[in-house]
Amino acid sequence: ALAGKTIDEGILDELEAVLFTSDVGARTAERLLEAVKSKLKAGELSDVAKVQAALKAEIVDILDGPSHGPANLDGDGLRVVMIVGVNGAGKTTSIGKLTHRLKGQGKTVLLGAGDTFRAAATEQLEIWAERNECPIVKGAEGADPASVLYDAVTAAQSQNVDVVLCDTAGRLHTKVNLMEELSKVHRVLGKAQEGAPHEVWLVLDATVGQNAIQQAKQFSEAVPVTGIVLTKLDGTAKGGVVIGLCAEMNIPVRYIGVGEQLSDLRPFSAAGFADALFG
């Protein structure tokens, strides 16, 4: 829609509007536009297409910034992944999808039903285990999540499984006792297996606004968050808040969720994400 126009103040306002309505947030939008403005002043951008490309390049730069290399799921020995996030973000569903993807890569997967609190949480994960034809370790309702996940890891060790995916109950990052429970789960996983969990992924709903930053900060204080899974990008929300999140916290986005079925998970592409913002 912007192609073919001459560069003027209006163009920057239009780009700012795109950034704002994509949940990029005022501060990050300002930072991105400042970088573009300085290129403009230096005469480096001759038309609108170049301005938009420059903006996308800034975004890709930030998103590709986290210097982490690929996720730590390959190599010898059992890998343990802990999945955390606020209520309803898409943790359980993402585990179902991730299992499908890992199995497609020739790995064996075991699921740990670490949500012992919410109504029918274990039943929900059981259905995903059935769909993937993979083992699941669960506990009684109200059981201690740490002990269920400890059992999941020891079961995986005895069954020679490649990856354990640990589901946890949704929780708001403002609940001190629930965040402490998460820290405890993390410690217990380390006791069950040296170096576990090898990845701690925060599941973020793309429809969430600036609160995502608080979520990332608080969850990172409770457990060492090593990656983000950004869900529900098949909707109209753009998830722009991850740009500021990556800039501030240096956590890479690993996967995106684009639907409710088994195969609706894709590895994150910074370029694809930047394109979709302006799409």
């Binding site: 005022a26 209520n87 898409g90 109504a119 109209t236 808040v241």
Partner: protein
């Protein structure tokens, strides 16, 4: 943070003797930042700021009362400006209407919204709320897609001693119609339809909601929205409202620290009242909406 934005606006104005075009613009810039950070939608922010500016410059000098000599005391520009913002926000949030319309012999409530917003949990909370008012709710498991969704509603029904209607192999519109028809013989006087979460751009699923509405003509269609929602609040609310004519909405997960600006956006777009606030995962954590709490939360 939001309060930082409003503090800046106040600090900036406290050095001024009165509200002028110039200093109001500057204060509004701070408020704009604050509202965007509170997740109020971009065009809603614009509208809000325009109205505040109009009131700030159009108002005659605000009067705080009279001093000992009966002379009128003038409110300082900073306090006056903040008060205008707060009053405008409260006015936008209201008027308060937490009523649930219920026909006889069987009233009905249809719960709709995006995935994961808290519809099923809130269905349980509304049932608990209605039970306290001596109603006998029937929960209808109209989410036939999500793994263990029916089971989830049954668990909640069990906790409340509340009946749950479910039927294998029946599409949601027909299922809801049958539940509504059978409610009376099941000794229930309200049916609550828990529907599957869906994207507002999913035509087939949005048509399913329209079909449920056609089949059951519900007394209330409540949009259940997550308080931490960002700019998408407007797009989503608009689509749900245009398709279904929302009667009211419920903001969930307000026990977190999300500012809740989405509430302002949804109210602005639908013109419908905020009915309830979800304040936790337990079934007793539902509050009737009051504007002052949410207004000060958004303003910080």
């Amino acid at each position: 943070t939001v309060s930082k934005g409003f503090k800046s606006a106040r600090n900036y104005l406290s050095g001024q003797s009165e509200l002028t075009e110039k200093n109001t613009e500057e204060a509004l810039r701070e408020v704009r930042l604050a509202l965007l950070e509170a997740d109020v939608e971009f065009s809603v922010v614009k509208g809000f700021l325009a109205r505040v500016k109009e009131k700030a410059l159009g108002a005659t000098r605000a009067v705080a009362g009279k001093d000992k000599q009966g002379q009128k005391l003038k409110v300082g520009p900073a306090d006056h400006f903040i008060k205008i913002c707060y009053d405008e926000l409260e006015a936008l949030m209201g008027p308060v209407d937490t009523s649930i319309r219920l026909s006889k012999p069987v009233g009905s409530i249809m719960m709709v919204g995006l995935q994961g917003t808290g519809k099923t949990t809130t269905t349980g909370k509304l049932a608990a709320y209605l039970q306290k008012k001596n109603h006998r709710p029937l929960l209808v498991a109209a989410d036939i897609y999500r793994p263990a969704a029916i089971e989830q509603l049954k668990v909640l029904g069990n906790q409340l001693g509340c009946k749950v209607y479910t039927e294998d192999g029946v599409a949601p519109p027909e299922l809801c119609k049958r539940a509504h028809q059978k409610a009376k013989e099941m000794q229930c006087d309200v049916v609550i339809f828990d529907t599957a979460g869906r994207l507002s751009i999913d035509d087939a699923l949005m048509e399913e909601l329209e079909a449920i509405k056609t089949h059951t003509k519900p007394d209330n269609i409540f949009l259940v929205a997550d308080a931490m929602m960002g700019q998408d609040a407007v797009r989503t609310a608009m689509e749900f409202d245009q398709r279904l004519s929302i009667d009211g909405f419920i903001m969930t997960k307000l026990d977190g620290d999300a500012r809740g600006g989405a509430a302002l956006s949804i109210k602005e777009i639908t013109g419908q009242p905020i009915k309830f606030l979800g304040m936790g995962e337990q079934l007793d954590k539902l509050e009737e909406f009051r504007p002052d709490g949410l207004a000060s939360r958004i303003l910080g």
